[in-house]
Each structure stands twice: as C-alpha cells, then as structure tokens.
C-alpha cells in the first residue's frame, strides 16, 4: 500500500490506523517516559533515585519528552513495525515497569507508616514536613564543644588529608554490626553519599567504639558525639581495617582504613526518612 493510498479518504480507517500505529506507539513511549520523569521530579521520592538538585533538570526533560511525543501522536506518519522499532518499544515498556517497581519500593521504604498511595508532595513540601535542622551547630555537652557535620563531610576531609577537621564532632548515622567487629568491640557507622544518582553512590563507613556501642542494634540510627583516633596497622589494631564487612547496598562500600570514631556519647534518633547525603561542605557551617 503506497503513501498516497493510505492517506486517501476512501481507505478504510483501520488500514490508516494500522499504518500509523508504529508512529503512535513511539509517541506513547515518549509520552509515558516523559510523564514518569515529570511526575517523579515533583514527587517526594525523587531523592531515592537522584540528587534533588537535579529535579528541575528531570522535570524539564520530562516535559520536553512529552512535547516531542506530540508529532508522532497527533500527526503520525505511516510506516512498518520493524523488529528494531518493536524491540525498543518493548524495552522502554519494560524499563517503565521496572522504574514503577522501584518507585513503589521507594514509597514503602521512604515513608514507613505513611500511605504510599497518598498524593505526593513537592520537594519543597517535603523539606517543610521534615524536622528542622538543629539550630545549634556547635553544641556544648558536658563542657565539651562539638561541631555538627555529616559523616560524608568528615570522610572527605580525612580523605583529602586535611588536619583541620573538628576535634570533637557530632554526626548522625546508621549502625551496622558484624560478628567479626563485635569480637573487637566495634560497630560500623554508615551513610550513603550521592553525588548525582544512586549508581554513583558511596556507602561511607567508620569503625566506631565506645562504652555504649555494643548496646546498639543493626539498623539503629544514632547521633554520635565523639572524636577521631588513628588506626595503626600494628598491635591491637593490626588487621582491623580488613574486618569491616563489604557492601550490601546500592553504594560502593568504603570503610575508612586510617581513622576510627571514639564515641563519647550516643543518642538514638528516629529513623530518618531522608537517609542519603546529597550535600557536602568543606568548612563550617557544615551541611549536617
């Protein structure tokens, strides 16, 4: 059937529809992906996938994808459904199903107890709903002045060989335990740092010890007030760095091999709904 025949008004509508179908499916694929990106960019689960600073970029790309979907949807051109075309349409549909699954998981994990089917708020609304960051970034506890910072900020300073890290600090982290570290009286404190997206995330960890650390359970969230101590590769510290368990999450797991945290004080905190770290500052006020 030639182009002229297909667009002839006397051609049965289903023949025209069938000839236009591949283009319309392409348009639907673009529209579905664009809509998904636009909605995700405005949802409170965006941070489960990408650094929130990219949400405007994702939103703009999603809207542009919806726009480029219009010509094939509204003004389709006839063509055959080739294997290559069909395979990319199927793969895109599979990806959208996978992404939907990931969104569902994110909804159930991000907001325990929350209704995942409830309408999503914007990132701005999310930040309003979160507890305010502590006003006092330099708390004094038992006469000791601490600096609040996040675990990634401390890790980065040490990784760069800087000596001006706070002598006494407070940071929030998730507890991870392993039998081999238990024997030596240590727990791991971890945070996942995300630069761009989950694929480049780093699961940064410190070995930590203190009077109360052995009372902690795997998965507890704590605020630790403490200081750093160097790990020497001799004596009781020999082989310590190799005892840390390897990764079991999305990020590349790295345990600091040169320093441990000596906890002076521990406070259990509520499970955070925003466990990843996206902002890292190298001088006060730290991102906390």
């Amino acid at each position: 059937m030639t182009s002229a025949t297909i667009h002839d008004a006397r051609t049965p509508w289903f023949a025209r529809f069938r000839a236009d179908l591949p283009d319309r499916i392409d348009g639907l694929c673009l529209l579905a992906l664009g809509s998904f990106m636009a909605v995700l960019a405005r949802s409170r689960f965006y941070w489960n996938f990408l650094n929130p600073k990219f949400s405007h970029l994702t939103l703009a790309a999603g809207l542009l994808l919806c726009l480029v979907a219009l010509p094939p949807l509204l003004l389709p051109r006839h063509g055959r459904e080739t294997f290559g075309r069909l395979s990319r349409q199927v793969l895109l549909a599979l990806f959208l199903a996978l992404a939907g699954l990931a969104w569902r998981d994110a909804a159930s994990e991000s907001a325990p107890g929350a209704d995942a089917s409830a309408p999503s708020g914007s990132l701005g609304q999310q930040s309003q709903a979160e507890p305010e960051a502590p006003v006092d970034l330099n708390p004094v506890v038992d006469g000791v002045a601490y600096v609040r910072l996040n675990l990634a900020e401390l890790y980065i300073m040490l990784d760069k060989g800087r000596k001006d890290y706070p002598q006494h600090f407070a940071l929030r982290a998730e507890v991870m335990r392993s039998p081999r570290l238990d024997e030596r009286g240590y727990v791991l404190l971890r945070r996942i740092a995300v630069v761009c997206c989950l694929a480049d995330s780093l699961d940064l960890r410190f070995m930590t010890r203190g009077e109360e650390t052995q009372t902690l359970k795997d998965g507890d969230w704590v605020e630790v007030f403490g200081h750093l101590e160097p790990i020497a590769d001799k004596g009781e510290d020999k082989g310590l760095a190799k005892l840390a368990p390897k990764g079991e999450g999305p990020g590349l797991a790295i345990t600091n091999p040169k320093f441990r945290i000596q906890a002076e004080r521990l406070e259990r905190i509520k499970n955070t709904d925003f466990p990843y770290l996206f902002e890292f500052r190298e001088k006060p006020p730290f991102a906390w």
């Binding site: 990106m37 094939p72 998981d105 761009c196 989950l198 480049d200 999305p250």
Partner: protein, 306 residues
C-alpha cells in the same frame, strides 16, 4: 536501607536512565537541530583541512559544544551525516565527554584542586581520541555508519522527495525538530537501557570484595579499575568523585578509571556497535582501552604519577 538485591537493581537501573535521559535528549535535540537547520555543506568545509587540523578541532570542540557521553553518539552520527570528516567527528566523540568545562571542573573539585590530575585526565583521553581519529580519518562516512540505523533521518522526513531540510525557517522547522528529536532519542534509549540493565546487574548482584583484593598491585589495579569504569557506567560529571573516594588505589589506576569510563562503558558499547560498522566500532572500543592501559601502566611503572 534494607533493600533486596532486586530492589537495588531496579533502583540503580532507573537512576542511571533517569540521570542520563536529559543529556541524551539534549544530544538528540542538538542532532535534530543540525539535521533541520544546518545545510549539508556548512560543516563539510572542515574536510578541506588536513587530517591533523580535523583531529585538533575534534579534540577541543567539546569546550564550546559540551556533551556528555550519554548524548555524544547521536550528535556524532549526525555530524558524520552532515559531512563532518571522520577524523574530527570521531575525535570529538571520544574526547568531548571529558574535554569540556563541566567535567574538567568536577575533576578539579574532586581531587582538591590538583591540576595534575585534571591535566593527566585530559591528556589520557585526548591521546586515544586523536589516535582513533587518525586511524579512521581516511574512512568515508558511508563506510563508518551502519545504514540500518539512519532511521531517525529517513523516518523524520518520510516524504521521500529529497528536499533540503536546511531550507526550513525556524517556526516551519520546529515540528520536524521535535519529531526527529523523539526518533533519535528512542533510537539511543534502547542502548541506554540495555547498558543500564547490565550496570545495575553488576552493582546489585556481584560482590564488591574483589576491589579490595587488587588495589595494592599496579598490574591488577589498573585493569581492575578500567573494568569497573566500563561496568558501572557512571556519568563523566560524577565519576571523579567516585574515583577520589577509591583512595586505596594507586593514581595511575584512578586515571585509567577516569579516562576510560567516558569513552567506553556498558551504555556506549551497544551504541557503538549499532551505529558504526564492525571495523570502526572495534577501533573505538579497543583502541582507547589498549592505549589507556599502556599509558597508565607506563606512567605508574616509571613513577611519573604516584
């Protein structure tokens, strides 16, 4: 954070595709703009220059036309279709994801203002990019590109009358730009998703402990981080931060990671194999990998980079 391996897999695949899509879309848009508004002869003037000049232009074109590896293949395909000589187009394709202001600045920040890492990274990318441009410089564009994947151009027009798209005015050409952008994006999204699935499987299902086993030996560390760069397929704007965190590895291995990832990863390999014919595809896949391995090993063993 207690996620099952499949949940992690789904989240990583989604995040890679969502992160790369805006840049792929931008590359597709740029490609469509070139197709619709730029005449076929406009960029072909470059072919009157000698091969060294073509390669030189290709190597630094990323500084004024920043493109990350997610969007560079459709742009290159379009440039070749518009008559840009292969020496310039191939050099641009391999160098632009690193030799651009955003990536160089990210490297500088991640390595605490260490200009040597920035300079070595740029050099280690430009050398194989120039070599690939040199090897493929004499090849005709028709011998580089697979005819089966010129769909975006052919289907974008569809009329078959052979008219010159470049004669479109801005508003007249806009629907055609949108249509071509969509087609180009879908063409490339196939390979993006395939690569993301492979990278997600690697991160979610393979143990990371092998990294620690090889970090102390240069002969193992360099190929291990090259393999890691290919497998995890992260963006050239973010990979410097990951490399900086792998401080247990020697610097030549980190540079191998930083140089190879933007030129060759699981997103790019299927795209290369589908866009280019077999020989040029093998050149753009193997030449950067071999060159970077030899250079980084040499620099490490000579003690130039410690």
């Amino acid at each position: 954070m207690d996620q099952s391996a499949f949940s992690i897999f789904a989240a990583i695949v989604s995040s890679i595709v969502l992160e790369a899509s805006p840049f792929l879309l931008l590359g597709s848009l740029l490609s469509a703009v070139l197709a619709v508004y730029v005449g076929d002869g406009a960029l072909a003037r470059l072919s009157r220059r000698g091969l060294p000049a073509q390669i030189g232009v290709g190597l630094v074109a990323g500084l004024i036309l920043p493109t990350c590896e997610c969007g560079v293949v459709p742009v290159t395909r379009r440039l070749l279709g518009k008559g840009v000589p292969p020496g310039a187009a191939i050099s641009f394709m391999l160098a632009a994801p690193v030799v651009n202001p955003v990536c160089l600045a990210a490297t500088w920040v991640a390595f605490q203002g260490d200009w040597r890492m920035v300079a070595w990274r740029a050099a280690l990318v430009m050398i194989p990019a120039a070599a690939a441009g040199w090897v493929l410089g004499a090849t005709r564009s028709a011998d580089l590109l697979r005819p089966s994947l010129t769909m975006a151009h052919e289907a974008g027009c569809g009329c078959g009358c052979g008219h010159d798209h470049a004669r479109f005015g801005f508003l007249q050409g806009l629907p055609e730009v949108l249509r071509l952008t969509g087609r180009e994006f879908l063409d490339m999204a196939l390979f993006l998703i395939t690569g993301a699935l492979a990278a997600g499987a690697f991160k979610a299902f393979l143990p990371q402990s092998w990294l620690g086993l090889v970090s102390g030996n240069l002969w193992l560390a360099v190929p291990a981080l090259m393999l890691l760069a290919v497998l995890i397929s992260i963006c050239s704007e973010a990979d410097a931060f990951v490399a900086a965190s792998l401080s247990m590895f020697p610097r030549p291995a980190l540079l191998a990671f930083l140089a190879l990832g933007p030129m060759l990863d699981l997103k790019l390999m299927p795209a290369f194999l589908s866009v280019f014919k077999r020989r040029p595809a093998l050149v753009v896949i193997t030449l950067p990998a071999l060159t970077i391995f030899v250079l980084c090993m040499s620099l490490g063993m000579a003690g130039v980079i410690k």
